[in-house]
């Protein structure tokens, strides 16, 4: 018979791990389905696993490396008894409670489910992008910057992530072209100033990438200027993509209410979704703030909401009448 849990947390970024710390401390023995290794942000620890220095998480005067911060959060949750499965949730049935989650070969029943699956990086969807991924086209600046020493490269995007990657890559590259579809950045002021002061960063405004070119490895990017209508090619040794995110909500289609953009809908000022016993936290339900600290904060809210909901419904003590029996 399937294992039954008070709380199952799907996702292991700042939201999921904070929810794990809080529910573990409330003796709810949470199980965290943390995901599988990958070279995108869709991995245990989430988006911060691909970043270097995190300078705005309160409590770290000199900043902290993203993977280290996530390692600490995981260890902190484990210290209070949170359990982890390094698999992806493959299927859910939120027709409960109890709700059902298929993770790897296991089926798990959960009274309360906290959805913290976050968001993943968008790709450009170019004809040759997949073919050259890993051969000059990259989604991970910290992994691949090393291979572009002394070369010219490009970063596409205009937010904080794009600028952070561009600045990081100036340590290796001779020049970093920052390609952005508008003529102004949406990144924070401090990141904009740093990029503008850096001699190695060159801005390519009002421009989109239309394809990546090269036989066995990236040699150039094809560009289109949205204002002048002009097409051009820019020879580069590497292209790093940081154009934004989409929420990881495919798994919950048909079960949870979501916006047209795929973000989960929560009741204002809480983590409650439209399904009883299902709570959402972090970037999966937030397209406004999307910070590690806001994700952590909403993970805490989800843990408290789940704990109070479990107490109020006594779900944890209830006979699981809905479970099919095998006699």
């Amino acid at each position: 018979m399937a294992e039954t849990r008070d709380v199952v947390i799907i996702g292991s970024g700042p939201a999921g791990l904070t929810a794990a710390i809080y529910t573990a401390r409330a003796n709810l023995h949470p199980l965290v389905i943390e995901g599988e290794p990958s070279s995108t942000s869709d991995q245990p620890g989430g988006q911060l696993m691909l970043t270097t220095e995190v300078e705005n998480f309160p409590g770290f005067i000199d900043g902290i490396m993203g993977p280290e911060l996530m390692g600490n959060m995981r260890a902190q949750a484990a210290r209070f008894g949170a359990e982890f499965r390094t698999v992806k949730a493959g299927k859910v049935d939120l027709g409960g409670p109890p709700h059902r989650i298929v993770a790897g070969d296991e089926e798990i029943l959960a009274h309360a489910v906290i959805v913290a699956t976050g968001a993943r990086s968008l790709m450009l969807d170019l004809p040759n992008e997949r073919r050259l991924l890993g051969y000059g086209v990259s989604t991970c600046a910290t992994c691949d910057g090393f291979f572009h020493r002394g070369t010219e490269i490009a970063v596409v995007g205009g937010g904080d992530s794009a600028l952070e990657e561009a600045l990081f890559l100036t340590k290796f590259a001779s020049k970093v072209h920052l390609i952005h579809r508008r003529n102004e950045l949406r990144a924070s002021k401090i990141m904009q100033e740093r990029a503008q002061k850096n001699d190695k960063v060159a801005f390519v405004w009002d421009t989109v990438v239309t394809d990546v070119l090269g036989a066995d490895a990236l040699e150039a990017v094809a560009l289109h200027n949205l204002v002048t209508g002009e097409d051009s090619t820019l020879p580069v040794h590497g292209l790093f993509i940081a154009i934004g995110h989409v929420p990881n909500t495919d798994l919950f289609q048909g079960w949870l209410e979501m916006e047209d953009t795929g973000y989960l809908v929560t009741q204002h000022g809480s983590s409650f979704t439209n399904v009883e016993g299902v709570f959402a936290a972090g970037d999966v339900q937030d397209h406004v703030y999307r910070q590690a600290i806001t994700a952590a904060g909403s993970g805490c809210m989800a843990a408290i909401d789940a704990e109070r909901w479990l107490e109020a419904t006594h779900a944890a003590d209830r006979e699981i009448a809905e479970t099919p029996r095998n006699w």
Binding site: E36, P37, S38, S39, T40, Q43, P44, G45, M49, L50, G66, P67, T86, V87, K88, G104, L133, G134, Y135, G136, S138, C140, T142, C143, D144, F146, F147, D216, A217, G238
Partner: protein
């Protein structure tokens, strides 16, 4: 590191990989690469569970840049499977254990 994982360098690469009787899966990695660290335990498990069928080699790109360049590694982790000294399979980017086993299933 597990006993059945071989550390590869620019010096011993030919002997260990080209001269290997069993297929060998070479992991190009580095200390500063998060996804590389995430798959390290996966590779250790595969090394012990598939002992005798496949060998695992680890090549640190900081320590062995010439070999990394020879195989045009531009992204890590990159995993290259060699059999009789020939490249059989190339996997770029981290994978979960199940996915990785599927990628190399033909050689187990």
């Amino acid at each position: 590191m597990a006993e059945n994982i071989t550390t590869l360098t620019d010096t011993n690469f030919n002997e260990e990989v080209k001269g290997s009787d069993a297929p060998i899966l070479v992991d190009f990695w580095a200390e500063w690469c998060g996804p590389c660290k995430a798959i390290a335990p996966v590779l250790e498990e595969i090394a012990s569970e598939q002992a005798g069928k496949i060998r695992i080699g680890k090549l640190n790109v900081d320590d062995a840049p010439a070999t990394a360049q020879q195989f045009q590694v531009m992204s890590i982790p990159t995993l290259i499977l060699f059999k009789d000294g020939e490249i059989q399979k190339r996997v770029v980017g981290a994978r979960g254990k199940g996915q990785l086993l599927e990628e190399i299933a033909a050689f187990l």
